[in-house]
């Protein structure tokens, strides 16, 4: 996993926010006032600050720091807000319906954000390991092209004297594979043939994989199958790299609205200050 050292300024800023929060919270505790209000407002502020990161990406022309710094600040604030959240809920699982929903939502957002950070640290190095570079938006076209070339290649094989087993294997196993989706889990690649192990297992029902992949006639198609496997692997990684945002971002919007409602309820039903 590729872990970058944090920017010292951002690290200090986050630590300072944490210390200020703790100081205010302790002060509220020591003044015998309801400290949940203090932690709540800090949590609200951190939530706004986290949401600003999304807005920052929409105004890239403004000279307000690099996006990478903003991302580090976003990550740091995310961790601090998790602590604030735990303090706010007094380290317990809320039992109320509405508070329970807020808890689940926040947990999902925090969890998806943490998962996104992990994926962004771990996947790119995996993608680089096979030496291939891919553009996610080109992958469908490249797969179409690959299928077209494969069909042309098999026509050439069919025009020559060849084993019917090879043709059968192509039409029953190889071609369907070329048209399948990549799925969500990357396939395990066979070290000898460079194709998915599952595909090798299926080929064995028709012909020996060693015979098939050593055949000169089949060499061109073999390369196409290897490329399909790599493209699929990249497509899967790309899905994971972007997929978590489909949880993180929409739920953030929902959370924003629920927080407003939560504030309204708290103030509406709270006791108020001592008379």
């Amino acid at each position: 996993m590729n872990l970058r050292p944090p920017h010292m300024g951002i690290l200090l800023l986050v630590l300072m926010i944490l210390i200020i929060f703790q100081w205010f919270y302790e002060d509220a505790e020591s003044r015998l006032v309801n400290s949940a209000f203090t932690s709540g407002w800090f949590l609200f502020g951190s939530f706004v600050a986290l949401a600003i990161y999304g807005a920052r990406k929409r105004v890239p022309f403004l000279p307000i720091g690099k996006t990478s710094y903003w991302l580090q600040l976003h990550l740091g604030l995310g961790l601090v807000s998790a602590y604030m959240f735990l303090v706010h809920i007094e380290f317990r699982i809320p039992s109320g319906n509405f508070e329970g929903q807020l808890f689940v939502l926040y947990s999902l957002i925090l969890g998806s954000g943490f998962m996104g950070w992990l994926l962004m640290r771990a996947i790119p190095s995996q993608m680089r390991s096979d030496g291939m570079e891919s553009n996610r938006s080109r992958i469908p076209d490249e797969l179409d092209l690959l299928r077209e070339m494969s069909d042309r290649g098999v026509k050439e094989i069919a025009s020559t004297e060849t084993s019917s087993d090879i043709l059968n294997t192509y039409f029953e196993v190889i071609r369907p594979y070329l048209h399948t989706s990549c799925g969500l889990i990357p396939s395990r690649i066979h070290p000898d043939y460079g194709v998915p192990r599952s595909l090798v297992d299926k080929i064995q029902d028709y012909v020996s994989p060693a015979v098939l992949f050593s055949s000169e006639q089949f060499t061109a198609i073999h390369k196409l199958v290897q490329k399909k496997a790599m493209l699929d692997r990249h497509a899967v990684f790309q899905r994971w790299l972007r997929g978590w945002l489909f949880i993180h971002v929409p739920l953030t919007g929902v959370m924003a609205m629920l927080i407003c409602f939560h504030v309204l309820l708290i103030f509406g039903f709270s006791v108020g200050e001592a008379k």
Binding site: E26, E29, S30, R31, L32, V33, N34, E90, R92, P94, S95, G96, N97, F98, E99, G100, N135, S137, R138, P140, D141, L143, D144, L145, E148, R242, L245, F246, V249, P250, L251, G253, V254, M257, F261, V263, L264, L265, I266, F267, G268, F269, S270, V271, G272, E273, A274, K275
Partner: protein, 691 residues
């Protein structure tokens, strides 16, 4: 910017996904020139492709749908009111279950019922939630007294007096219950006071209990003594001389009170009574009730103002405070004030005014006495009580009565006033009341004078002629009686002869039985109780914790006030050598206090800032003995304690650093005594009372 096409990199023609185009052509290699529509459909009728969606557009769509779904759900839920039509009392905003003690509460018990609409909710939020019930709602059930919202629930002045501050202002801040006590699933709300909350006021800085915590006070472990008992004296002197009564363990005399976790002394019979039960019966009885002596009753009769029979005593009698109370509460006329103070009253010869006063006094006493005999015991006891305790219930009166028997009262009446009713009736009719024989009187009796006056004033009266005849008949009768007496003398002569014969035969045998040798009242009452002796009513203590004595001490301490009689009664009952010898041991009972502290009990009105339970510290283990914490001392402290105060070392020796477990381990916030008092519930189980 140029509008010329950028070839394969032009965003409008490329296959690549571009943010400004929600969909792109699905054909690989040769996309169509105009591309799919904005809603993602292929414009071609033949050879249609499946346009691919832009990732950013997909994200927006998902985002939009999630928010719309959520908002829709919220609106539907909020729009559906509950049975009462109040949308904010439904489960969507239910903040969680209440603690088990409040499990049956309704929202309206704590929250304002007016918050039942959006506008009301907004208004309440705008005004800072002042519409909710707040601490006042809590205090309706949880009685904390008038200082509930002040620190520790006690008055600022009281708290200031315990602190080093001179100014009362720091103690005048008020705190809402919800600052510490939370509901709706916040778990056990009992132990929620964090150390930091204590330190809001208590700012003495130290690291932990082991390091820096102030040492316990010199009185810790040694409560104010209410029983005078010396462990050292008993162990070093008494038990050394006679080890048969020496207890082997502390539990021989002490026991744990499970409810409070405190250690108490076992009942007298089990502990002290093993040796000291006889002391109760050695105590002296005390005079409870007696009328004063009137010397010279015959002088009254000589003055023609006889008052009939009156108690005569062998020894000097005391006028007991109960008798004086009886006077006061028998509505005796003011003119007898001087007489009611004296135990010995003397008549003065040749002083008819004094004689008349004494006659009236004696007859007034008899009148009050006969009235009491017609009533019941409760009425009699009420007349002996201080003014403020007249409305005591029968159970208390029963203890105060000591079950005084009617037989004793009748016995006293026979002894004091044998002709009580006759004398009172004659006095009421204006007739003379003489006890002495007529021949002993120096002058003529009032009755004779009256008769003579009547003879002189009305000789023609036919009725009086009849009376004279009757007197003649009486004289004849007396003659008959004299004859009868002569016959008796003759008979007696015969009896004398017979008796001489019997004595001569049994001359050597003495009488074994005689009613002259029956026990005196005091002797008979060796086990305690009521008795009469020499014309005085006495009481002797029956048992330890005698209900009669305790009831009177309690009544006089709590209701006696500045009453002189109360002071005298307490002097009698609380004398160290007095009845029961109570104060020989019970030093917590004093006539100067308003409450009797008989045993080591928690004072319900005392403010408690700490708590400790022996229940959690007493084990059947030789390593943990009472003396692990309590160290005996041979020389008692100035306050009489024969134990050294418990020190912090006692805690840390066993607990080590683990004892530093937060302030509330030993301290408690709610010190006010009201928290330990149960509020009486409104009992209406059978609907007998209208709501």
């Amino acid at each position: 910017m140029s509008n010329e096409s950028r070839g394969r990199f032009d965003s409008k023609t490329t296959h690549y996904l571009r943010p400004d185009r929600p969909y792109v052509c699905g054909r690989s290699g040769s996309p169509c020139s105009n591309g799919p529509t904005v809603v993602g459909t292929c414009p071609h009728r033949d050879d249609r492709c499946e346009p691919r969606i832009n990732e950013g557009h997909l994200r927006k769509k998902v985002h939009r749908w999630v928010i719309l779904l959520f908002l829709g759900g919220v609106m539907v839920t909020l729009a559906s009111a509950d049975e009462d039509g109040k949308p904010f009392q439904q489960k969507l905003i239910d903040p969680g279950p209440l603690s088990h003690v409040h499990a049956r509460f309704d929202c309206r018990d704590c929250h304002s019922e007016e918050i039942n609409s959006w506008s009301a909710l907004l208004a309440s939020a705008w005004h800072g939630g002042k519409d909710t019930v707040g601490s006042e709602g809590c205090l309706e059930c949880h009685q904390q007294g008038e200082h509930a919202k002040y620190a520790h629930g006690v008055s600022p002045k009281e708290l200031r007096s315990r602190s080093s501050f001179n100014d009362v202002e720091p103690f005048e801040d008020q705190t809402e219950c919800t600052v510490c006590h939370s509901e709706h699933g916040h778990g056990n709300s009992q132990q929620i006071l964090s150390d930091s909350r204590c330190q809001a006021c208590h700012q003495q800085d130290y690291d932990s209990f082991r390091s820096g915590h102030p040492e316990f006070s010199d009185s810790y472990g040694n409560r104010d003594r209410v029983i005078s008992f010396s462990h050292s004296d008993h162990f070093l002197r008494h038990f050394k001389n006679d080890s048969s009564f020496s207890p082997n363990t502390c539990s021989a005399c002490h026991e744990l009170e499970p409810a409070t976790g405190s250690m108490s002394v076992k009942p007298f019979e089990v502990s002290c009574g093993q040796c000291h039960s006889e002391d109760i019966y050695k105590s002296e009885p005390f005079q409870f009730f007696a009328f004063p002596s009137i010397f010279g009753m015959e002088l009254l009769e000589e003055e023609g103002m006889g008052a009939g029979s009156w108690p005569e005593y062998i020894d000097a009698v005391e006028l007991t405070p109960w008798t004086r109370r009886w006077y006061q509460n028998s509505e005796m006329p003011e003119e007898f004030a001087g007489l009611m103070e004296s135990a010995e009253i003397e008549a003065e010869p040749g002083n008819p005014v004094r004689a008349k006063q004494l006659q009236n006094f004696a007859m007034e006493v008899k009148r009050a006495f006969i009235v009491d005999m017609a009533n019941d015991l409760a009425d009699w006891i009420r007349k002996l009580l201080p003014q403020k305790s007249r409305d005591l219930n029968k159970q208390e009166l029963a203890k105060l009565s000591g079950q005084f028997p009617i037989a004793l009262l009748l016995q006293m009446q026979q002894q004091w006033f044998p002709e009580l009713d006759v004398e009172l009736n004659r006095f009421t009719k204006g007739l003379a009341i003489n006890v002495m024989p007529e021949d002993e009187l120096a002058g003529s009796s009032v009755e004779e004078d009256q008769i003579e006056k009547k003879d002189n004033s009305s000789e023609d009266s036919p009725v009086e002629e009849g009376d004279l005849l009757a007197e003649e008949d009486d004289l004849l009768t007396e003659e008959d009686d004299l004859l009868a007496e002569e016959d008796d003398l003759l008979l007696n002569d015969e009896d004398v002869i017979d008796e001489e014969l019997v004595i001569s035969s049994e001359a050597e045998v003495k009488d074994e039985y005689s009613l002259q040798e029956i026990a005196t009242g005091k002797k008979w009452a060796s086990l305690g109780g009521w008795y009469e002796q020499d014309g005085v009513i006495w009481f002797k203590t029956v048992q330890h914790a005698d209900p009669f004595l305790m009831a009177w001490i309690h009544a006089e301490l709590t209701h006696g006030g500045e009453d002189d009689e109360s002071s005298k009664i307490l002097s009698i009952l609380l004398d160290e050598k007095g009845p029961g010898r109570c104060t020989k041991c019970h030093t917590g009972v004093s006539k100067d206090s308003t409450q009797a502290h008989w045993g080591i009990k928690d004072d319900p009105l005392e403010e408690k800032y700490t708590h400790f339970s022996h229940a959690a510290h007493v084990f059947n283990d030789d390593d943990f003995l009472c003396t692990s914490c309590h160290t005996p001392r041979e020389t008692p402290s100035p306050k009489g304690h024969d134990w050294f105060p418990v020190r912090m070392d006692a805690c840390t020796n066993c607990h080590g650093v683990e004892v530093a477990d937060g302030c509330t381990l030993c301290h408690q916030y709610h010190a006010s005594p009201q928290i330990r008092q149960l509020k009486a519930s409104k009992l209406n189980i059978f609907g007998s009372k209208e709501e």
